[in-house]
Assembly symmetry: C2
Homo-oligomer: 704 residues x 2
């Protein structure tokens, strides 16, 4: 029967992760579809209202409606974020990077966060803010994945003990990490209709730790998300079985043979220019966190005003090109121009994001260079002030719009320099977008694949690759990526693969923290309590002395004073485990043994904590419990009782020698996803400890 149980367990562990991936993909796909439909309908209603006012009331009333909608919509988004769940603001990608690197960000994965993120991004994007829905979708997929294990857990709350053991295995950090990684991949897959790009995004941008198995599962998850989204989208357009509708952003089809070798040269120029711009932008992005809601509303109204009045002021009417197909005609906006004309300015501003981008790519009629300059300045400025507002806001779309503007500019310039070459300046806009994204995110292969899957045109592969690589080089010359910048801004202790320059020749001895707070393996309750009160450390090395059977008195030295008699490291114990021991009163009292020598006996009201109490919990409510001393009440006499730490230790913690080179410390930290690393000498005597914070010396703010 034992054997059968093991077999059943193996089956369970082989099948369940795939089922979970299926569920994650399905949930992400459905939620993406909801976001897509809501944004589309809200934005359409907003424009319809504005145009109706324009035709039937007045210009001023039209603007008032347009701006009021923006203010109210963004106000709702901001209120949701600030009032309910501040961690739902922004794109969420820096936090996800931090989580997958090994640092838990509080509440990042709650269902509530996901709900606020989804509602917030709908209102922020449909309110016309210069922000995208892609980053928030990644966070949504991530949070859904983190919650997916609750479903079967609830269903089996009254299950047998055997099956509870199964579910418990699922609660491990390793599985959780796999789920949320796949969820992030599914989010990208749904956002761009790019399943392969999604997996690569999770690999390149988000994850510090990667396994082939995780890759396969993420791939499956991304596939399901893409399928689900496409299925519902084609269903909403009437044909449930036509799978050719793509993701949330699509770039439409480009003409064949749209570039030649020598055209790659201006593509390089694009990449270089962009990064000079991005650098300035990044240096000015941090902001104080005051009156966030009003700020968001103000920016929304400002955005509305600029995108409304600029086309009015600079009408730049142009004649519609002859021979216009119905499809192409969609790209042209008349706005205030005469019939038979269109406003280039309105095309590039007074429009939904997707139509603006498609216009840059596909309108054959040249954009006037001044219009492009104004558009570039506008989006650049708006994107700079928008990212950082208290609304869920992605960076991809603003980056694409900026990149399109200067890419198109380069294309128009080439076209007027070489009029006979039949240049498609829309392709330049695409490359411009790639360089802008590359400069901001520093992704390479995943960005290329995402753009490739979005454009549906493999011919663009080589110019995209060149643009992306060059923009990465140029960007790295100036600074780190925007995501990494935000990881730093948020004080997430992120462990890079390589130590900062200058640390290569140091050893563990140089960067470890001393004096070390250790606990003996047999310790008084009072000592444990005092240590928990006086420090905020998360893990405590546990030591024993070399003498084979020391008397209890000898063991009860104050924990922070390293004993002179050569202690050795026997394990490490977490703060949460110590708290659990205190809470369960797992105390021993000293009794007189039969031969008069002291013997320890479990106190009568104590209970040995069940192993479940130590398992990392997926429910976020445990965050507080795990670190809070408040629930622990000591009774008189408790302080002198003993706790035997030995059954609860992690007996094989990672440890390094004093002489270990710092680069190896970094590699160990990152590839093993550690939180603390004991530093010992050749006698296994602990001398110090290295935590994530210590190896990020550039942080001055303490997270705890």
């Amino acid at each position: 029967e034992e054997n059968q149980g093991a077999k059943g367990y193996a089956w369970f562990m082989a099948v369940m992760p795939w089922l979970a991936m299926f569920a994650i993909g399905l949930a992400t796909g459905i939620v993406s579809f909801g976001i897509f439909q809501a944004v589309k309908n809200l934005a359409a209603t907003r424009f319809a209202l504005t145009f109706w006012m324009l035709d039937h009331v007045s210009l001023g009333a039209a603007f008032a409606a347009y701006a009021a909608w923006a203010g109210v919509s963004v106000g709702i988004a901001s209120l949701l974020v600030m009032g309910i769940e501040p961690v739902a603001g922004g794109s969420g990608i820096p936090e996800i990077k931090g989580y997958l690197n090994g640092t838990n960000v509080h509440k990042l994965m709650r269902l509530k966060t996901a709900v606020v993120k989804v509602l917030g991004v709908i209102f922020a994007v449909s309110g016309g803010l210069t922000c995208g829905k892609e980053g928030p979708l990644v966070h949504t997929g991530f949070a859904l994945a983190g919650n997916i294990v609750h479903l079967p857990k609830m269903a089996t709350a009254c299950a047998t003990r055997a099956s509870r053991k199964y579910w418990q295995a699922f609660r491990s950090d390793v599985h959780k990490r796999d789920f949320v990684t796949a969820g992030a991949a599914a989010g990208v897959a749904a956002a761009f209709g790019a399943p392969v790009g999604g997996v690569l995004f999770a690999l390149e941008e988000a994850s510090s730790y990667w396994q082939l198995q995780l890759m396969w599962r993420s791939f499956f998850c991304a596939l399901i998300a893409t399928f689900t989204l496409i299925f519902f989208r084609s269903g909403s357009e009437g044909s449930w079985l036509d799978l050719s509708s793509p993701g949330l952003i699509t770039f439409g089809e480009f003409k064949p043979n749209a570039y030649r070798l020598w055209e790659l040269i201006p593509f390089l120029g694009l990449a270089v220019c962009n990064n000079a711009l991005c650098r300035w932008r990044r240096d000015h992005i941090e902001k104080a966190a005051t009156i966030r809601v009003l700020e968001a509303v103000a920016i929304a109204v400002l955005t509305a005003a600029l995108s409304f009045w600029l086309p009015v002021a600079l009408q730049s009417c142009k004649e519609l090109p002859a021979r216009l197909s119905v499809d192409d005609a969609e790209h042209y906006h008349r706005f205030l121009c005469k019939p038979g004309e269109y406003s280039a300015m309105a095309n590039a501003m007074f429009n939904t994001q997707e139509d603006i981008i498609k216009g840059f790519f596909h309108i054959e009629d040249p954009y006037p260079i001044p219009v492009l300059l104004i558009v570039l300045a506008l989006y650049f400025g708006l994107a700079t002030i928008t990212y950082g507002l208290a609304v869920p806001a992605g960076l991809f779309v603003p980056a694409i719009m900026c990149g399109c503007a200067y890419g198109r500019m380069a294309g128009e310039a080439m076209d007027s320099l070489f009029p006979s070459a039949d240049i498609d300046s829309g392709v330049y806009a695409l490359i411009g977008a790639a360089t802008a994204l590359g400069g901001i995110t520093r992704m390479t292969i995943s960005l290329t694949v995402i753009l490739l899957e979005t454009t549906n045109d493999i011919q663009m592969l080589l110019p995209l690759m060149v643009g992306v690589i060059v923009s990465k080089w140029v960007g790295d010359w100036f600074n780190i990526s925007l995501y990494d910048l935000h990881v730093e801004l948020k004080c997430i202790p992120f462990v890079e693969n390589n130590p900062p320059a200058g640390l290569e020749r140091l050893t563990a001895r140089d960067i470890m923290v001393t004096p070390l707070v250790t606990l003996p393996h047999l310790v008084t309750v009072g000592a444990v309590y005092d240590v928990l009160v006086s420090t905020s450390h998360n893990g405590f090395p546990v030591v024993a002395h070399r003498a084979s059977a020391p008397a209890p008195q000898q063991l009860l030295a104050p924990p922070s004073s390293p004993s002179s008699s050569d202690p050795r490291l026997v394990g490490i114990i977490l703060r949460s485990h110590l708290l659990s021991l205190l809470r369960h009163r797992t105390f021993y009292h000293e009794l007189d043994g039969p031969d008069g020598s002291p013997v320890l006996d479990l106190a009568q009201d104590a209970s040995i904590p069940h192993v479940l109490d130590f398992a990392p919990s997926l429910s976020s409510t445990s965050d507080a419990l795990a670190t809070d001393l408040a629930g622990v009440a000591l009774r008189p006499g408790d302080r002198d009782a003993f706790i035997d730490l030995r059954p609860f230790l992690n007996k094989a913690p990672f440890r390094v020698l004093l002489e270990t080179p710092v680069p190896r410390v970094y590699r160990t930290f990152r590839s093993m996803g550690l939180r603390h690393l004991c530093v010992v000498d050749e006698n296994n005597t602990p001398h110090g400890i290295i935590t994530r914070k210590d190896i990020r010396t550039d942080f001055t703010v303490d997270l705890n």
Copy 2:
């Protein structure tokens, strides 16, 4: 000046890897182009000769020429391999997997191996063997990359000491591993015109260790290789600046909207069927290594006979379809049929590989099912006996041909079941090829991207993904991938990420090797010599005793008997370093000190080895030197002299506690690329050692 030197060094280390990547990509692209042109011209000449004989002499003479060409060509390939460099046989991918996992395969990376591989694959493929040029190209890129650092080294042989220090840093194993990984990626990129797929291949299939930086560099390298190949190919076709010519294999364009949702169901069936086939095939693939050249020639003649006489015997002539464009007409072969007819059998057999595959994909006229059955059986059989011959031979193309045959069969069946649905059975052939490849290689995301880049059609993404994932599931149900099977056949100790089932609950204590052979840090020459003679171990833990200043006599305990007085691990020393110490006679003799106590003094004819002598050398000639005791001659009296190991130790070797769980041992091994791991107790006393071989318990053959 010191500071400036450090800055120059940093610059050097930042720029040189990219230059090296450029050179690797360039070299791989040029060599790929050479292979492509040579195979194309030789195969064309062969067919032209055969057809000329057919028209002007007789059927028999035509076959004689056709078969003789095959025999001679494959004979040359096999002679090259067996006579010059046996390691150049096969596809090379299992060996590359092994190398990147941490096991050096002798001569795998020599320039000579690359040359033999290139010439061999040209003759093998143009001789008509059922094998591809893709795997060998990957190995070629890998070997070129391993040799690329020789170029600047030779150029700067007479450089200053400062610059020699720079180059020396490049000789590290880390850089070498990065170079060859990128080389493998460039090989795939050139073979399939799939730069993104190449990087993913290196990531998913080949590499055990992966960093973002390596990904970016591989991406650049693959880009350069693709560019180079495309540049030369378009140049050879007359237009140097038209970049639209793709890689070595191309699948041509598919019609738009070629599948619908419900068609995915037979795609699933394809995947399931294939794997039943592949399983049988894999179980019968090993062969004894005798009379290899004759065997290869025999198989080549057999292949020629079957592909010649089968179309003759079963002519299966069909009328050419009406309305045939010039492009399409290329796909139809008349062979022995009347004018206005074509032979379906000849289309599928008597043809170059690329044309056979394109025929399956693009000929609209249905293939008769019996023809497909015969073709499937033929290719399946030929591929099975061909892979394993002593010629450079890839697996991709045979797998694609088998997959095409049964895919096309499914397509034809669907077409006759649902005649009104306008099914493109060429798409089924493509999915069949994907499932065949997926079943054989178990790659997922990289295979999907490679096929996507090769077909140039993003619409195929979803069916490709489904086919690849299902074939992987089904395949994993039966056995491991063909590459992994060959890794095992070749007895390469490959470390998976997870331990085999059943080992999860063991600890390091259970799998370590005892008794341990240790060396004291101050040791007699005789003891070192004896240990080197009596064992074949590659690394030796070095111990010291706890007493602070032990007398020399006490230290000279025989190395294999663990001392009772509590030794502690102070480091590890490699066999090659011990040999180097013996060779340089770094011996100390015991002298009487000023106060009468014994003092050690360096022998007069000894020299302290320069650190360069310990650096891993890129030249393969050092393999023998590093492990050979022959060059060491001890003089009388030497045996009693001392060696002080302390300056030469690796003082911070990886170590684990006895209680460390086996899964963590595996993870540490793989992610740190270790060769040996010391197992110590809490007192840092070594108890055993774990090597790659120990954690691969399924191997019975000892590599050393």
